[in-house]
Each structure stands twice: as C-alpha cells, then as structure tokens.
C-alpha cells in the first residue's frame, strides 16, 4: 500500500542556517506518527514544505504517491492541515469559515453544508455554527480548525502543535478525538508536539533535533534505548545543546 507520507533526503536552509538536514521517514497509510522535538527543531518548517508553503529545494516529499513539488494540487487535495498559528477568520461565523475552506477545495455549497454539519456535530458545535469565531474559547477554536481541516475528507491530517495554548482537559479531549479518527476512518495523522505528556507510551515517534532525525520508534522503546527514566528526560536530552564548550 502507498505510504501516506514519504520524505526522502529532505534538507532546507534559511540563508546560512540549516533548518532541516537529510530528513527521511514515512508514515504508513492509516497510521499515526508524532514528531517530537524542542522549539526550533524544524518541525514547522517540515510542515510548511509538506503543505507547499515553502518550496522544496533538496529532497522529495510525496503524499499518497503524489509528489508535492511536481503535483501540488493532487498532493494537497489529500491532506488537511491545522497550523500552529490560528488561521480562522475571527469576524466570520463557524459555518462561514468552513464554507470558505470548502470553496477553496472546490466543493459545491450543498456538499460543504452536509460535511460541515457532520464535522461540527462531532465536536458538538453545529448549534453554534452562526456565531462569530471570536466568541469561542481557544479550545473550541482549535476544534473548529480540525473540523475545517477534515471537511474535504482528506486521507492525511497534519497537526502542527495543534494543542498549544489549550488547557489539559481540552488537550486530552482533542487527543482522544484524533485517535478515534485514526481508528474509525483509517485516517493517517502526522502531528508535531514539544509536550511529552501528550504522547502515549506506544506512540510511534520521530525525534527531531536541530533539523535532523535522531531516532524513530515507539516512545517507550526510545526512552529505554536512550537509558532515560521517562519521556520528559528524553525531551530534555534533545533540548540540550549538541556541543558543550
């Protein structure tokens, strides 16, 4: 079966600064994979390359077999993304935000409404569809962003630090929702975080540090292999400078 995401030899630079260095990994179809790394590890740059916001200069990214650089339309049609920075129009209502996204995906208005109802209902937000997004709290706004990302029924969901700024209860709730989507729909999920408490022990994880992949596997195995007491120590190890003076 074609991988949901396949990344080969991906490097990226901002001027002299190396942001990603020879990154290669894949996400199997229907699998969930977390990118764990401290701030500045290159997670957001990787997502920007995946979504075509940054041009790919070195390496190759394919989404369900479609190369992002060669066939961006086909690759983008297969993915839904929630960015770290909120992207909802606060002055528009929930349904207007979703309708705008649906139109940008080329969906007909009737199809948008049917899908919007389904996705907003899942979060219990359909009754609030006509309220301006500005009135929602941070947790609900994130839910709307996820509902919007799933509106066009993508096969791959990208979540870039999607739980940033949420309280613990909202974070747990969101995590559970994502896991149920993976199980029920066979959705593939690639998500980034710098919060180890969000990861389950059996979570498949890629450790990213200074733009390079350090290790890959189940979180518990990585903790054991690194000789650390727990996942928090593992992240602290990643956050430490590579060289001491």
């Amino acid at each position: 079966m074609t991988d949901a995401v396949s990344i080969e030899g991906l490097s990226h630079y901002f001027g002299e600064q190396t942001v990603l260095q020879d990154v290669s990994f894949s996400v199997a179809s229907g699998a969930q994979l977390a990118l764990l790394g401290p701030n500045g590890a290159g997670k957001t740059t990787l997502f920007s390359l995946l979504t075509g916001l940054l041009p790919i200069r070195t390496g190759r990214i394919t989404v369900f077999g479609h190369e992002v650089a060669e066939s961006p339309g086909k690759a983008l049609a297969n993915l839904g993304a929630v960015f770290q920075q909120p992207t909802l129009d606060l002055d528009l209502s929930l349904i207007q935000n979703l309708a705008y996204h649906g139109a940008l995906q080329g969906m007909a208005p009737g199809e948008v409404r049917t899908r919007a109802r389904l996705e907003l209902d899942r979060f219990g937000l359909w009754d609030r569809r006509d309220e301006p997004v500005r009135r929602l709290n941070a947790g609900h706004r994130r839910r709307v962003e996820i509902a919007r990302a799933l509106l066009h029924e993508p096969k791959l969901l990208l979540l870039d630090e999607a739980t940033t700024g949420l309280d613990l209860a909202s974070r747990v709730n969101l995590q559970e929702h994502i896991r149920s989507l993976v199980q029920e729909r066979g959705l593939s999920v690639l998500w980034t975080t710098h919060l180890v408490e969000e990861l389950a022990a059996d979570e498949q994880v890629i450790l990213l540090k200074a733009g390079a992949v350090q290790a890959q596997g189940a979180l518990s195995s990585l903790v054991a292999a690194a000789g650390m007491a727990d996942a928090k120590d593992l992240l602290l190890g990643l956050s430490a400078p590579a060289h001491t003076p």
Binding site: Y13, T44, L53, G73, A81, D89, D91, L92, G102, L104
Partner: protein
Amino acid sequence: MRPSRYFHCFIGVLRREFQRTVQQRSRFISALVRPMLWLAVFAAGFRTVLDGVTVPPHTAPVDYEVYIAPGLVGIIVLFNSMQSSLSMVYDREMGSMRVLLTSPLPRSWLLISKLLSSAMVSLAQAYVFLLLARLFGVVPPALGYLAALPAILLGAMLLGALGLFLASRIDQLENFAGVMNFVVFPLFFLSSALYPLATMQAASEWVYWACMVNPFTHVVELIRHALWLDFNAPALTVTATAAIVLMATAIASFDPARRMFSGRAGRH
C-alpha cells in the same frame, strides 16, 4: 480537476470578500464619504475651473461635478484595491493566508479569484456613489451606467493587480500605509481625475506627460467616456495592456513564504 471546482472556489472567495465588506461597514461607508466630500465641497469651490471649457466626451461645457465624478469613481476603486491588498498583508501576518495557499487549486487561479472579487466590491461601491452623485447633478444617460460597468471592472483589475504586487513586495503591515501615501496620492493627483489633460498641459508640460504615463489617467478616461456612451480606444488599450502586464507580474512575483516564517523565508 473539474471546471466546476474552479467556479466554486471563485464564488467562495467572492462571498468572503463581500462578507468582510458587510462586516466592516465603516470601511464601506468611509469609501463613499471620501468621494462625496470631494463632490460636495471641493467641486463646489472649483466650479469655475471649467468655465466655458468643453472636455471630451462632452460636446458642450459641463459642471465641474460632472467632470470629476469619473475621477472619484476611480479613487473609490483605487482605495478599495489598496484596502484589499492591505488585508492580504494582514492575512499573511496573521496566518490566515495559509488556508488560501494550501488549496489544491492553482495559485494563479486563487489570486485571480481574489482580484476579481475585490473588483466586484469596488464595482458595488462605485455604483452606490454614482447613484448618490445624481443628487449633485451628475446624471449620465441610463445606458451609460451599463457601459461603464466593464470599464470600472477592468480598471479595478488593473489597480487590484498593482495592490497585489505591492502587497507581495511589502514585508510588514506598518510599511503598507507609507507605501499607500507614495502610490495612491501621486496616482490620483497626476491624472486627469481632477483637471482636464489640456489644462494640465497648459500649466506644465512635465505634469502633462506624468499624467499620460500614469495608467490611472487612462482608467479614469475609460470610465468617463463609457459613462457618457463614448468609446475611448486608446484608454481601453492602455488600461487592458497595463492590467494584463500588472496581473502577470503580481502573480509571478507572489511569494507566499515572504514574511510568513519570521522573516527568514525571504533569504532561503
């Protein structure tokens, strides 16, 4: 990708442009107050400017209000185009432009949809102004309103493309206001919006030539002639050519990464 998807995309962008305009009522009203003040106050004071002068396409001398009305339509379109570009810079800084740019449809189509949608808003504002202008004696023939529609739309596309080009070159929101002052006012004052070209030429040869190379002059002339049911081929040629060149340049130079990644992307 099916053609209907392109259509749905355009309608979605258009709807959002109008939703924003409706929500920001003050923006819509201020866009009308400015030209109405010019018409009510400025034009009243300058009534004698055209004393006895016949300006094409008119065949007899007209009131100054009648003369400047097309120029004021032009300024409505110009300000709305810049406002729309400003919102693009804002969207880019706030992150909401990512939604637009991660659409599977070609980026060129997304930008053309944005330009055309902004032009439609300009068109609505221009027609509200033209209706109000009737109170000040600006009464073109009924068919003139229809004939002016493509002229205003083409002018709005030209000016929108200029705004899009500026938006793609400007790094920060706060810089945009400064650029507007350096672009909007010279475009407006060095044109035939306020005074006839012949008057400009009589006053200063270089000002006349500055007006002639200014595409805004030709937008205003195209609207003026269309509104009074006259066809101005040179104005159409210049406006259409400038619109195509500016649209192609704006689309080609649009760099989504610019300023979206903490200012780093510009150097990648």
